[in-house]
Subunit: 254 residues, 2 copies
């Protein structure tokens, strides 16, 4: 049995607490947050504290708090040489005060308070100062998910940039598609199945091999026709920039 203390009251803290409740090898012995509030409806009042000085002894302390608070809270912890991890995608492991053994326990997914989370498909990116602690984090993560990756702080930074492309920028492509449809009284939902298929395809083949379209085929007639259809300057600039990028990438390989 591994004992855990969760610090924080946000989405990640709540979802982790709920997930740990449902399995037996890890026990959350205490939760801390500044207001001393319950983070789960079935939680007992006695297992909550609003004071860092009252923290119980545990094998692992999870700082599921805002990025900015990690340095300060880790410094205020009234003990040394225990394992303390944060759950952030963009804060280096070294931000945690080094009087304790440090680690990162980062579930790579967006969480919302209302939506129930199934951790089993969520990748955990773990990092630790030493092999023994890495193994502890791996054991705990493996109770929640089958997708566990050793990712160091530099790689985690890079992963964040890659996530901007596949999540934020991709969503913006959907938004432009929606805009074009609306301008022409076409229901955007016509494109939903194509979007699902596009996302599904890259789990079966590399995105490089799934690339299709007029830019890839160097079909200049269609590209010209499309540019005439587009009226909005921002849409035209995006179309041109992306077409150029695709052509220069695949031009080299042809």
């Amino acid at each position: 049995m591994i004992t855990v203390v969760i610090l924080g009251a946000g989405n990640v803290a709540q979802h982790l607490y709920t997930a740990f409740r449902n399995q037996k090898s890890t026990e959350v012995v205490q939760c801390y947050n500044r207001k001393g509030i319950l983070i789960h409806k079935d939680q007992k009042k006695a297992s909550i504290t609003d004071s860092l000085n009252n923290l119980k002894k545990a094998d692992l302390y999870i700082l599921a708090i805002s990025d900015d608070a990690i340095e300060e809270v880790s410094k205020k912890l009234p003990f040394e040489n225990r394992l303390v991890v944060h759950t952030s995608g963009s804060v280096p492991i070294t931000t945690i005060n080094d009087k304790n053994a440090r680690g990162v326990f980062y579930p790579l997914q967006t969480f919302s308070a209302t939506k129930k989370v199934d951790f089993s498909d969520i990748p955990f990116c773990i990092e630790a100062d030493n092999e023994k602690d890495n193994q502890i984090l791996r054991n705990i993560a493996s109770q929640l998910s089958e997708r566990i990756y050793d990712i160091n702080s530099d790689q985690r930074n890079v992963l964040h940039v890659a996530a901007v492309f596949v999540n934020n920028f991709t969503n913006y492509m959907f938004s432009v598609g929606d805009e074009i449809c609306k301008e022409n009284k076409i229901p955007f939902e016509i494109l939903h199945p194509l979007i699902q298929e596009t996302a599904k395809k890259i789990t079966e083949m590399e995105p490089q091999n799934a690339q299709t379209g007029p830019a890839m085929r160097k079909d200049y007639q269609t590209i010209e026709r499309h540019l005439k259809i587009l009226k909005n300057n921002s849409q035209i600039e995006l179309y041109k920039t992306l077409t150029k990028a695709i052509q220069s990438k695949y031009g080299k390989e042809l």
Copy 2:
């Protein structure tokens, strides 16, 4: 019972033939292709012809042939005043010779020869010269799918541009994400669940409302940090162009 003749031997012809075999209200009475080949393993030789002059009488003729051949083949049909449709996303209805009643029967999805197709989730875009023919196309499509849309030729053109954004350009975003991961020895599959979630989200809310990320938040510190992490010029240009587009779109609305 509606009788149909399918012209063509490509992916769309094959998948439509297979789909019509499995239901009872439509009967494919004949198939035509230049070589007179079977397009389904259980097809009878007698139901195939390689000559337009031997075409049987039917309620509907589906030209599931290449875009370039639609004008010529429709001209060569040895009959008048019957319903003739094509299945193309980018050819206007008027390309079909007007000696017959014209229509479009366009399944909006990418088909491959090897992968089995479930039409039930595929949107059909239909168009016809008159209401009676529109109703016939709607009846036939409704036997295959629940998603049927009246889309005229101009809208179909626009839909094709929107599809370039949500399919081709989106796949390119995945491909850049993959590139960034590979350059830093991170397995791209870490990002698969996030990609699936991104695609799923827009079936639940408008993409405009699902937009997140540093560009949207105007988080200039993170944007600067990301631009320093990126080494590849094409990646940097894309990051800047998309960030600018997102900011100018949401800047106005804030």
